[in-house]
């Protein structure tokens, strides 16, 4: 491994054993999405295909639809009869048209610059990977083939940058939340018969009239608006974002920070019910019904005094929610009753703490050691520690603290091995979000329970992944680029409120 390498920003484990296939680890690093064989550690595919200077011309020649479009799409056979392909083409078109418009304005925008990182990943039905590419605000669905190859099926551009991405419990509908507080639902696979609504040809007309505005200045600006309206009629503009089947289902007037969908099992009085839990920068956790009744708010969980960033409903106690964010404690809830079961103090720190991730990991006895494993892991932003809690009957207890070689970024449980892989920051010094290393360290670490404790283990497949590395960071990066890369990974603590203005 040479030079600096991007860390794995997101990790997802894809259990394909029921289908008789080998397990896969899906990971993002820099602008790439990787599919990795869990058993052998072999890299199965990289998306987008690395642009290789000699073949670049050939690529764009083969797929004229993607010319000028941000992502260099995977090359595909033009004669491919797959129905999915059609979707991809249909969806790619309006976007590419839009991009070509953009590129007229900004010819500097090059293919490889359309995004620099992939902060959100989800896996559906063990055969689709859904990602959000950061800068172009695009939700892309890729197929994960039996051999681990990735191929883009659709690309849907959102109006605002997303902060959360998940699926409904049946894994057929994508749910996304954006930085303006809106939550949208749309089908994983766009339906064939959706008729794209034509942008309304209705001309813009000022809503104000001389009956509603009276002052001299307002009347003047109304006159200006009238003129603008006349101009606009001459050259109508189209809006591209959201030009696909979708529904706006929830809206916060705040930055949405997290979104999870939860199935509450049936009990003596009611049947199984689906819910959507959303969290925002204004300390709220909202409990809404699941799709299609997400407009019915059932509850708010009040108790945080700073932004909420992480939500976790453990698989083994679905009536319990563990939440964290800018507070120096976690809260454990009976989330349907807005009842705080426990307030769990986080370890003392000189700086403000920010919870960056909460994961529930459980292995049945068959897969792991003799006893079953149930652990809640908690990571803090810019910290190389991983906190391990037990959760029983709504009570969290800190069991141990793992020290890693770099800041914890993401975690995935490998069911087949009864172990966890943790992605750590390869670029920055442990416990710092800004000071860079001179040489990257391996991006993954592995742990497994032995004698009741989580302990590091050597896993040959993970060693192989580490050896092969991720995608390289250009050497001698300018300061500004470094800061951008830092912000892409460590953005949460910026959500903390400062004294606002009073206007």
């Amino acid at each position: 491994m040479v030079g600096l390498q991007h860390p794995f920003q997101c990790l997802r484990y894809v259990n394909r054993q029921p289908a008789g296939l080998s397990d896969i680890l899906v990971a993002t690093a820099g602008r790439n999405l990787f599919s990795l064989d869990v058993t052998s550690g072999q890299r199965l595919d990289v998306w987008p295909e690395p642009v290789n200077e000699t073949s670049a011309g050939e690529t764009s020649g083969a797929t004229p639809a993607s010319e000028g479009q941000g992502p260099p799409e995977k090359r595909r056979k033009l004669s491919s009869p797959a129905g999915d392909e059609k979707d991809a083409e249909q969806d790619a078109k309006p976007e590419s048209e839009a991009k070509s418009k953009d590129s007229k304005k900004d010819s500097k925008k090059e293919e490889s610059n359309s995004w620099t990182n992939i902060p959100l990943v989800a896996v559906a039905q063990s055969k689709y990977v859904i990602i959000m590419t950061a800068e172009d605000k695009c939700v892309r669905v890729l197929s994960l083939a039996e051999d681990g190859k990735l191929q883009q099926l659709s690309a849907r551009t959102m109006p605002k940058k997303l902060s959360a991405l998940t699926l409904t419990p049946d894994e057929s509908t994508i749910l996304v939340g954006d930085k303006f507080g809106d939550v949208y639902a749309f089908p994983l696979i766009p339906s064939e018969n959706y008729v794209r609504s034509q942008p309304q040809a209705k001309a813009y007309e000022p809503a104000a009239t001389n009956l509603t505005v009276h002052t001299k200045r307002n009347l003047e600006s109304l006159e200006q608006q009238m003129k603008q309206a006349a101009l606009a009629k001459a050259n109508p503009e189209e809006r591209v974002a959201l030009n696909f089947e979708h529904q706006l289902i929830i809206g916060h007037v705040s930055l949405l920070t997290n979104l999870i969908s939860v199935s509450r099992p049936a009990d003596s009085t009611v049947g199984a019910r689906n819910y959507i839990l959303t969290a925002d920068r204004d300390e709220h956790i909202r409990v809404s019904r699941g799709v299609p009744q997400a407009h019915v708010i059932e509850q708010f969980c009040f108790g945080h005094t700073s932004f909420v960033s992480s939500l976790c409903v453990p698989s083994w106690e679905p009536k319990v929610l563990v939440s964290g964010g800018g507070d120096d404690h976690l809260l454990v809830w009976d989330w349907l009753e807005n009842k705080i079961l426990q307030k769990v103090q986080l370890p003392e720190s000189e700086t403000d703490l920010t919870v960056s991730g909460i994961w529930d990991v459980s292995f049945s006895p068959a897969a792991g050691d003799a006893a079953s494993v149930r652990t809640i892991f908690v990571s803090l932003e810019g910290s190389a520690q991983l906190l391990c809690f037990s959760l029983e009957n709504g009570t969290l207890a800190l069991k141990q603290t793992l020290e890693l070689c770099g800041n914890v970024l993401d975690l995935a449980a490998i069911d087949s091995k009864g172990s966890i892989v943790v992605s750590v920051d390869t670029l920055r010094q442990p416990n710092s979000t800004t000071v860079w290393k001179s040489i990257s360290q391996p991006p993954l670490e592995t742990f497994r329970v032995s004698a009741g404790k989580w302990a590091p283990i050597e896993d040959s497949s993970v060693l192989k992944i580490n050896d092969e590395g991720t995608s390289s960071v250009p050497e001698a990066l300018e300061q500004k680029k470094q800061v951008e890369l830092n912000d892409a990974v460590y953005g949460l603590s910026k959500l903390r409120k400062r004294d606002g203005s009073d206007d």
């Binding site: 303006f180 809106d182 018969n193 813009y204 007309e205 000022p206 809503a207 104000a208 009239t209 009956l211 509603t212 009276h214 608006q225 529904q247 706006l248 929830i250 809206g251 916060h252 007037v253 705040s254 009611v270 049947g271 019910r273 204004d282 709220h284 809404s288 019904r289 299609p292 009744q293 407009h295 019915v296 708010i297 509850q299 708010f300 009040f302 108790g303 005094t305 807005n338 409120k497 400062r498 004294d499 606002g500 203005s501 009073d502 206007d503």
Partner: protein, 324 residues
């Protein structure tokens, strides 16, 4: 920015006036005079997305209403909220979102003397005026009550806003209204619990004319889910505006539109399922509508300018059944 040496005379006057008012309110021996609006005027817009310096309770169960409605504090001092404040004998039931100078609150107070009502406003100066006004109204009513036996008061006719409540005793003595600074777009659920409210008023909201600003409008399909959360089934949400386009917007965001219908004839579920429009006949008989149309500051201004007023009232329906 003006330097201290260069403070405009208008602002100096304002500050002096408010200091005097403050002093007067704190002294107990004199009857408080009504505040004058001209010292409290403020730009008509506020950015609902910025943080401001807002105070809001951690949850409805933490809210201290006792200082707002001293006449309704529960006599049992052992009954306290989660924040340790005294509880009230009843819950707040009516909210005026964006109450401005409070014309609606003052108009409604004697109509519903036993109902607790709160006006919420994001602009500080305007709120300060309304708080002073309510304080003064209560004090004036106390004075009138203390005076010799009710000598048949002449009904107040065509009084200036600033003189309402100074010559006649009103039912409820304005003890049932108050005003709070808040950004309801963010924090409404911090103040009111599930199904707590029976009426919400949205009167002459900031029209946010530009399409780019429509997200800041106080009525939208997604905000309506929050109004539905705090409003009890059967509760009413009143809207009035002088901007016809805004009125159409309100109707569009509360009621299903023909173009929503899918090819198979179904209409996608949304917050519009939670509301139905109240008929004109019913509104005729509702005294709240009259107050909303003629007694708020903004409605008087619209009347003066011969503007139009568009009223739409919606009833909260029961939540739909859970899907089987």
């Amino acid at each position: 920015m003006t330097t201290p040496q260069n403070v405009p005379a208008k602002r100096l006057k304002r500050e002096e006036y408010r200091r005097e008012l403050q002093a007067q309110q704190e002294s107990t021996d004199s009857v408080i005079k009504m505040p004058q609006k001209k010292f409290f005027r403020q730009r008509a817009h506020a950015n609902p997305f910025s943080d401001h310096r807002l105070e809001y309770p951690l949850s409805p169960a933490h809210m201290d209403w006792s200082s707002h409605y001293p006449a309704f504090v529960d006599p049992d001092p052992t009954k306290t909220t989660l924040s340790g404040a005294r509880k009230l004998t009843k819950d707040v039931e009516v909210v005026d979102i964006g109450c401005g100078f409070g014309g609606l609150m003052v108009g409604l107070a004697p109509l519903l003397p036993d109902t607790l009502m709160v006006g919420m406003e994001i602009r500080t100066s305007v709120l300060e005026y309304l708080s002073s006004r309510i304080h003064a109204l209560r004090s004036q009513q106390q004075r009138l009550k203390a005076q010799a036996e009710p000598t048949e008061q002449q009904p107040e006719e065509e009084l200036h806003d600033d003189d309402v409540g100074t010559t006649k005793i009103y039912p409820g003595n304005f003890e049932n209204i108050t005003a709070i600074r808040s950004n309801t777009m963010k924090f409404l659920p911090n103040f009111f619990g599930h199904h707590q409210l029976s009426k919400i008023f949205i009167c002459f909201p900031d029209p946010h004319f530009k399409a780019r600003k429509h997200k800041a409008r106080i009525v939208s399909e997604s905000l309506n889910t929050e109004y539905a959360y705090v409003l009890r089934p059967g509760g009413l949400l009143y809207t009035i505006t002088d901007v016809e386009e805004y009125h159409q917007w309100v109707l569009r965001h509360f009621l299903h539109q023909p173009e929503e219908q899918l090819e198979d004839g179904t209409i996608p579920a949304s917050s519009k399922d939670l509301f139905e429009r109240v008929s004109d006949e019913e509104l005729e008989a509702d005294p709240c509508v009259r107050v909303m149309k003629y007694e708020t500051e903004e409605s008087k201004k619209v009347t003066r300018n011969n503007g139009k007023k568009f009223v739409a009232v919606f009833r909260r329906k029961a939540d739909p059944e859970w899907p089987a």
